[in-house]
Amino acid sequence: MTTQTAAAAADNYLSINNIEVIYDHVILVLKGVSLNVPKGKIVALLGANGAGKSTTLKAISNLLHAERGDVTKGSVEYKGDRIDQLTPNELVKRGVIQVMEGRHCFGHLTIEENLLTGAYTRSISRGELKDSLEKVYHYFPRLKTRRTSQAGYTSGGEQQMCAIGRALMAKPEMILLDEPSMGLAPQIVEEIFEIVKDLNSRENVSFLLAEQNTMVALRYADFGYILENGRVVMEGAAEDLRTNEDVKEFYLGLSSAGRKSFKDVKHYRRRKRWLS
């Protein structure tokens, strides 16, 4: 499905080739997913619940093993090296880090301690650690004001910021960001995506972003893939996807022909265009 020229492939930081993921030896979740994340870009991975977005991210970060999942086919490459057999620890050292869905801050640690744990894999001096911390506080001023609060008692938005900030402390080149908008108020979602964009342009961090909130994600991303039932059903520049009629209809709830009943249209058109 993906036709990349050799020149473009050289620019790809991360490339996934036709991977298949099986949970518990029986449940086939990804059925041959391929995608690329070019250096310094934001790539959105879109799709409904259960489409396989999180699984794709975990296949890259190798958190899959802890959930009894296995990549049974295909390969994952980062900067040209196969990374499918590396532990999360080795991946973080290479600059690939995942921010998990649902934030997963360490509830009993303070915000600052949470951030400090993010630097676990780097052996750096106290001074450098302080600099990294200041940098994170620069992007997330709100975290600085809450630095001594236990993370479990902060708001959802602050926890999401904490989770991203914690990942930043590892000095990553590529962040796999899973559903950052989950359960957050629209302004906070906007704020977080602004920061993501900022980090992308100023720190040159590449993002692979799994999102259900298609509208917001496509506004900030450079490129998008749409997953359905463990397959990539559509891909393209974010701008193109945003104006695509099908995407508009299925994911943004907009249609040129006005509102239609789900019964009348959706199933038929899905089947015709994407699954057949």
């Binding site: 999360p88 620890n89 801050c105 360490f106 509830g107 009993h108």
Partner: protein
Amino acid sequence: MNFFFEVLIGGLLSGVMYALVALGFVMIYKASGVFNFAQGAMVYLAALSVVGCMEKGAPLWLAIILAFLIMTLFGIATEKFVLRKLVNQPPIALFMATIGLAFFIEGLAPMIFGSEPRALELGIVDEPIPWVLDNWNMVISKFDLVAAGVAAVLVATLALFFQYTRIGRALRAVADDHQAALSIGIPLQNIWAIVWGVAGFVALVAGMMWGARNGVQFALTFTALKALPVLILGGFTSVPGAIVGGLIIGASEKLAEIYIPPVMQDLFGGNFGGIEGWFPYVLALLFLLVRPEGLFGEKHIDRV
């Protein structure tokens, strides 16, 4: 009044001995959220290793170092053969594994070092301090005082370690959320090996103190039972909690043993000895009703 203080101080000092055992539980609970049923067995193994090495002709200092190595190896092996297979499993699975581990140690340790009770000579005599006896007419054991000092140093070190070092922070992080810790590159395997190593060290200190006092024998595994009420009072996740809990349990059981029987006898007649044996558990039970997380334990944080 003198007598009251003598009982109180004696109780506090014996409480420190309970706290020493409780500390081992806290270590592992903090880092993996698992109640380590094998802690009592580890105390036994540690004490037995010291005695066993000394019987083979090693001087005390060498025996302690060897026992420390044994406990460290044991910690690493536990991680490699037991815990590694159980990442991301519910805590009850890990708990069951530690029960198995307890039986394993209780069988293996006597096979290697022999099962007969033996004395452990640390060179500290268990006798009253003459100066205190002369001036205040109180019997305070020298040995208890040393044990208290050792415990104090151990607790201070561990508390600082958990609060301020990189590894300590990582340990607390792992305790909160295995998966998140994994996702930011904290290697669970190393962390767990470290934690079991530290718990083994704590077990070694506790084993030597208890072994020197009561002899090295199978009954050492039951010291773990005394640590339970201490943990419930102090909180499973708090190093200082283990100490305060130990002090409260130690003091209250000794005071109860002395002062409750006469009252009961007046009221009901008959003999009311042995209150010491069950009083801590009743206290813990009452405490569970009022404050289940313990005095210093982490409150369960729930967002709604």
